[in-house]
Subunit: 294 residues, 2 copies
Amino acid sequence: MALVSPSEIARPFLDEVREAVAELPPIRLVGLLASDRPDAASYSNYAARGCAKVGITYEERKVPSAQLSRAIFEANTDPEVHGILVYYPVFGGARDRSLQNEVDAEKDVEGLHGFWTQRLYHDVRFADRAKTKKAILPCTPLGVVKALAALGVYHLERKPREQLEGVTVTVFNRSEVVGRPLAALLAHDGAVVHSFDIDGVVRYEREREEPGTITRAEALRESQVVVSAVPDPSFELIRADELHPEAVCVNVAYVPNFADDVEATAKHLLNRVGPITVAMLLRNTLRLYRNFAS
Amino acid sequence: MALVSPSEIARPFLDEVREAVAELPPIRLVGLLASDRPDAASYSNYAARGCAKVGITYEERKVPSAQLSRAIFEANTDPEVHGILVYYPVFGGARDRSLQNEVDAEKDVEGLHGFWTQRLYHDVRFADRAKTKKAILPCTPLGVVKALAALGVYHLERKPREQLEGVTVTVFNRSEVVGRPLAALLAHDGAVVHSFDIDGVVRYEREREEPGTITRAEALRESQVVVSAVPDPSFELIRADELHPEAVCVNVAYVPNFADDVEATAKHLLNRVGPITVAMLLRNTLRLYRNFAS
């Protein structure tokens, strides 16, 4: 039974957020929906249900894409709004990346603002110099980290920054939203990470990010952890015979990235992370409220 | 004699910065050069020369692209560094846009950080609610605005936000760095702006940004101002016979976007803006120092 339930991993985080929220004045999260994509509407529904579970007020605002920047501006300047979530892609590419940075860092529940990614990539774990406000991390990479901790990959008895020493990870995907931040987070805790995408392979170790030379076959054979987030259905599925015998496998994409035989042979297979991502979103919302609004 | 000298337009701004800098402790601008592109090195040289002219200390730091994020982090956290300039493109696209937002807004002399573009797109002219700190605008669009003011396009006798009423502008280019912010700035002052790029035409009026229906020929015929910033040498050059008889023309690209006959017939032709852009960079450096470091 290698298959892992994402809801079970998410549950303790939801419980923790619910208990904290119960003690606080109303916390309000606004979701800005500016595209017709079904996955955007679906993520908004998940966010709404997650918020309902923990007692955070969720408000979905449908806006024409041309008005999105304005809607962000209004939410930024509204003291009754504590968190802002935008469902990307809207325009795609550099323009979306600009919009991500128009959301005030103090309301950016996704942790995608440069203020937060600067901290992430340089392993600064607080928002302030006095170290009173813990930093926000992007929901999906953070969710994968929490899942790996729940699955016993982290050596929690060791000091921070050493808990993944001796662990090799392969990540398929190097986007700015999932693969790159995840590789950096794992490397900061001591892992060696091989990151593959259509442009080739990059090796992460501590703060180093360098072109890699390893092949997919070699990387998979030596990796105790394999995370895949490739949306392309033509991706060559990862087969059981390619994996390390003790591999923990996490599928982040909406389509399967692992072959059917992996479930039976991997140490653990987490084949979707959505519920964990939503739990991290709620946790980030609470953290921003505590850091900046309360 | 339609041809205008960009150095002459830049001069009063340089004088103003020099006089102010002379009264202040040393101001330090760091330029991060992480690509081998000759235009990057050349812009760094222009910045160095501009800084020398006005008394700002300039330091060029050559860094491997993989270390750029780290170099930004170090400059962000160094209290002796007051301004940071990164020469793009480095990786291109979304990753460069991420890096632009890793520079602290308080040191972002280019005005490309989301903190500044939010203000630009929503016509908020100060960095703070008390309106004590004037906002930073991106250098090239700001330089074009200052050039148009010097060339008599702005009705400076009118109130702010009305000074371009009755003026129609055509802009070729809608990048996040030049064309979009420029169109927004002009529209905030009352102009109607037709913005063309390979994806079509967009119409800007006040805060509205909507798909346009006008053709290039119609837009040019009614525009008293034409700004072009198309790097592609296959761009169809703008000819004199397409222009409004009183057209003020500004070429922002490194390659000519106007045909040879425009110089003789346009009211004014400014065929490069580099020196004005550099003057705005120095002006922004001074403004950030006054707003946040002094």
